[in-house]
C-alpha cells in the first residue's frame, strides 16, 4: 500500500508532512527556501510550458524576467461579429503580444479557487484552467515528497479553510476544484480536513489534560477559526467553526494602497485618468503585468516629457516594464513581517528608476489595518457564540499562520481571553503537521 501524507496547500506557503504513528516528519520539499519545510505557493510556467515551483520558480522568474527586453508583435486574437440593422460583418481582433516574454509567475493559486470570475489564465498559446494550475503545483510537490521518501505517495489529506467563500456554492466549487486538481496530480485518494482542526491536532499532541481550545488560523489568504474540545482521544469535538477571507495578502494590499502609491505618482497626477488607472493597479498582482503595453508606455513617456511628476512616473514605468512588481510585493511583505517583532521597518527598493524608501511603524500599520480588526473580532466572537462557550470557558487559544503573529491581532486575543491562554505554535508548519497526523490516523484505520 502506498503512502499517505498531509499536504497544506496554503495561499502563501505550502508544505508536506508524514506521520508514523508517533512522530510527524516535515519534509524539506524546498531546499532553496529559508525554511526548507515550507515552500512558497508560486508556480512559474515558461514559454515552452515547462513549470517549476517554490524558490526555484522565484529564482528562474527573477533571472529571466527582471529588467529584460520586450518586443511587441501583433497577434490575431479572434474575431467579432457585428450585427447591424441591415449589415452583418466580421472583424478580426488583434492584440499586441510581448514575444520575448520568457514565462509567467503565478501566485495566490488558492485564492483563485474561490473566484468564479477567474476561470483560469492564458499562458502564451495555452489556456490553463485554475484546476490545471493547482494540479501542476501539487504534482511538483508530490514528486518532491516522493523523492525524499523514496516511495510513491498514493493518498493525501489536504487542508481546506473553514470557508473558501461565504457563498456555499463557491465554497463547494473551490473544494471540488482542489480535489480534482489533487486527483489529476496523481493522488489516488484525497480527503480533506479543516485547517484549524489540523492545527488543533498538532497542538493536541502536547496536551496532558482535556481543554476547550479556540484555534485561530490566520494565514495568507483566509482566517479560519475552530472552537474544539481537545485531549480526549476519539471524543474530540468541534463545537463551532468559522472564517472570513481576510488575511495577509489584504494587509499587504492595504500597505501599498495607503503608503506606497504616492511613490508612483498618486496625488501628483490628477487630470490623467489613464495614468491614475495605472497607479491604482500597482497593488493588483494580476492586473499589473498585463498593463505593460506599448500604448501605456507611450502615455507614461508623454507625461514624463511634459514634466508631470517625472520621477514618480518613471518609477511606475520601471515597475511595470521591468517586471519589478514581484520584488516590490516581497519588500512590502517583508516589512509587514518585521513589524510583528519590531516597532519600525523600512520598505525600500532601488532598481532601475525606482528609488523608494519608507519608514513604516507598527502604529501606522495598525492604523492601516484597523478596519480588519473589527471584522476579525466579530467573526471570532460569532464563532465562539455559536459554540455555546463563553470566553472564560476557553482554556487555550492556539495561534497558527503568519498573520496570527501580527501584534494587533495577538493583542486582541490577549484582551479577549487573557495572555496566559494564548498559545504559540509553529506558524508555518503546524497545519501541515496536523494534516499528516490526520492522514496517518485515517490510513491506519
Amino acid at each position: 500500500m502506498g503512502l499517505k501524507v498531509g499536504l497544506d496547500f496554503g495561499t502563501s506557503n505550502s508544505g508536506v508532512a508524514i506521520f508514523d504513528g508517533q512522530h510527524v516528519r516535515q519534509l524539506p520539499v524546498d531546499p532553496g527556501s529559508l525554511i526548507p519545510e515550507v515552500t512558497r505557493t508560486v508556480l512559474y510556467i515558461t514559454r515552452d510550458h515547462r513549470s517549476t515551483i517554490g524558490q526555484e520558480a522565484i529564482e528562474l522568474y527573477s533571472r529571466d524576467n527582471i529588467n529584460r527586453q520586450r518586443r511587441y508583435v501583433k497577434q490575431w486574437a479572434g474575431e467579432i461579429d457585428f450585427h447591424g440593422a441591415e449589415l452583418d460583418y466580421v472583424r478580426d481582433i488583434f492584440v499586441l503580444v510581448d514575444e520575448l516574454k520568457p514565462g509567467r509567475l503565478l501566485q495566490y493559486l488558492k485564492t483563485a479557487l474561490r473566484k468564479d470570475d477567474y476561470p483560469g489564465t492564458q499562458v502564451f498559446d495555452r489556456f490553463y484552467p485554475v484546476s490545471s494550475l493547482v494540479q501542476i503545483y501539487l504534482a511538483h510537490l508530490k514528486k518532491r515528497a516522493e523523492n525524499l521518501l523514496g516511495q510513491e505517495i498514493e493518498a493525501v489529506t489536504l487542508g481546506r479553510p473553514v470557508r473558501f467563500s461565504s457563498d456555499p456554492q463557491k465554497d463547494q466549487r473551490a473544494e471540488d476544484l482542489l480535489r480534482q486538481a489533487a486527483n489529476e496530480a496523481g493522488f489516488k485518494r484525497v480527503d480533506f480536513e479543516l485547517e484549524p482542526v489540523a492545527a488543533a491536532l498538532d497542538y493536541e499532541q502536547s496536551l496532558l489534560r482535556p481543554e476547550n481550545a479556540v484555534i485561530f488560523d490566520f494565514g495568507g489568504g483566509t482566517l479560519d477559526i475552530a472552537v474544539m474540545r481537545l485531549g480526549e482521544g476519539s471524543k474530540r469535538q468541534i463545537y463551532a467553526s468559522g472564517g472570513v477571507d481576510i488575511a495577509g495578502s489584504d494587509f499587504d494590499r492595504a500597505i501599498i494602497e495607503k503608503r506606497m502609491l504616492p511613490f508612483f505618482g498618486l496625488g501628483k497626477v490628477n487630470y490623467q485618468p489613464e495614468i491614475q488607472e495605472l497607479i491604482r493597479a500597482v497593488p493588483d498582482w494580476i492586473a499589473l503585468p498585463e498593463l505593460a503595453t506599448p500604448m501605456n508606455r507611450a502615455t507614461l513617456e508623454k507625461a514624463v516629457r511634459a514634466g508631470l511628476a517625472p520621477v514618480r512616473l518613471r518609477a511606475l514605468e520601471a515597475m511595470i516594464y521591468n517586471d519589478l512588481s514581484f520584488t516590490f510585493y516581497n519588500r512590502v511583505e517583508a516589512a509587514k513581517i518585521t513589524l510583528s517583532s519590531s516597532g519600525a521597518a523600512v520598505i525600500s527598493m532601488e532598481d532601475k528608476d525606482i528609488a523608494l524608501w519608507e519608514l513604516y511603524t507598527r502604529h501606522q500599520f495598525e492604523k492601516d489595518i484597523a478596519v480588519y480588526l473589527e471584522q476579525v473580532e466579530r467573526v471570532l466572537m460569532d464563532t465562539l457564540a455559536e459554540s455555546g462557550l463563553e470566553p472564560g470557558q476557553i482554556d487555550a487559544v492556539v495561534k497558527t499562520g503568519g498573520s496570527s503573529n501580527i501584534p494587533l491581532f495577538h493583542g486582541m486575543l490577549v484582551r479577549l481571553f487573557g495572555a496566559a491562554k494564548v498559545r504559540e505554535t509553529n506558524s508555518f508548519t503546524s497545519v501541515t503537521a496536523g494534516l499528516a497526523i490526520r492522514a496517518g490516523r485515517k490510513s491506519s484505520l
Binding site: P262, S342, G343, A344, V346, W357, L359, T361, R362, H363, Q364, K367
Partner: protein, 393 residues
Amino acid sequence: MTFSEKIDEWISEAETRPGSALMILKLVAGRLRDLTERNEELLAENIELENGSRVQEYQKQIAHLEFQLEILKRRFGEGNNESQAGQDQPDSLQLLVFNNDGRLLRLDPGASSWMDLREAGQLTGQFASNGEYPRLLALSANEELLLLFSSGRVATRKMSEIASFEAGTSWEWEQISLPEAPHGAESLVGIAPLSELAVSQFFMQTSRQGAVKKTLCSISEKILSNHYLGRGAVQKTDQAFEVSLARKNERYAGLSREGRLQNLGVEGLSFSAEERLKLTATDHMVAAFIIHAGESLLALTQTGKVVVRDFASLETGKSSSAHGQALISAARLEQGTRFIGAAACRPQDLLVTLDEDGRLAVHPVQEVTGAGAIQSEKNFVGLGRIPVWEKKA
C-alpha cells in the same frame, strides 16, 4: 499625506512603544547618512559641471558632431537637395588616378557618360613609381579626400582642389599635379572618401604585408588635427597600404597579389595592428575594401582573367592569422598568374582598368563577368570600380 503628518505618526509610534524610538532613530539616521553621501556625489557632479570639465566633455562631443555635419555638407554641397547620400550617378563621379609619388589625376567624363566611354584616356611618361602602378578610385566631385602616407601621416584635400581633366585624351604623368607632396621617403598609399566619416564607426587600415587595424572614427577630429593615423603595420619592414571607412556590422576583404583572400567581420577586428593574412616574402596586398551583401568580389589578373566570388560564398576568417582562401591554384601561380587588383561590385557597376601602356578603359561588370575575362594586348596593372545606382522608378 504630508510629510509632517508622517513624522507625527512616527512620533505616535515612539510614544506608544518607547522601545521603537531607538529603532526609528537608527533607521532615520541610516537614511540620513545615505542621503548625505548621495548629496555629496551630486555636489561633486555639480562642481564638475561648474568648473567646466563636464562641459568640456559635452563640448567635445558637440564639436565632433559639428565636424561630421560639416563633412556631410561638403560632401553633398550645402543647399543642394537633389544629391542624396551615396546616390551619385556615374556621370557625376570622377575618376581619381593616383600613384605613390603623390600625383593625383582627376578625370571628368565631361559631356559623355562613363557608361558610354570605353576608352577613358591614356597615361604617358613614368606613371609607374618604384615598380608600383597608379591606383584608380571613382569619387564624387564634392568629395573630401583623406590621403594616407606610408609613414602613417594623413592629410585632407577637396576633390575640387585637384586639377580636373576631361576623360578620353592622354596625359603626361610628370605634368600631373602634386597637391600633397610626400615628405622625405614616404609615399602616398591610400585614399578614402571622408564624407563617409559621419556614417562610419572605424577607420580600417591594411598594411602591405596583410596586417589589419581599426581605429574609432570618434577620435577622427584628433587624427585629422594631428595629421596622423598610424602605419597600421606590425613588421618594421612593412608599410601602410590602404585605408577605408567601415561600420561595425560590415565585412572587410583583403586580397594579395598571389591570390590569398581574407574576409573578416569588422566588429571582431582588433584596435591594434594584427597580421590577419600570412603572406610569403614575394607576396603583398593588392586590394582591401569593405564588401556588402549583394556585392561580389571581382579580382583581375594581369592577363585579364576575372575571378568572381559572391558575398555569400566568401568564407569568414576566424583565426587571428591565417593563409586565407586561395583564389589562384598552385599550378597557375607557378605559371606566373598574379592579381593586380580587386573590387566589390554589383552587376550594374562599371570597371575601369589600366594596362601597362597606360591605357584606361571602362567595362560593364556584367559584360566582364559574362566573358570571364577582359581582352587586352597588354598586361593589366590597375583596376577600379565606378559604382552605378539603379534609378528608382
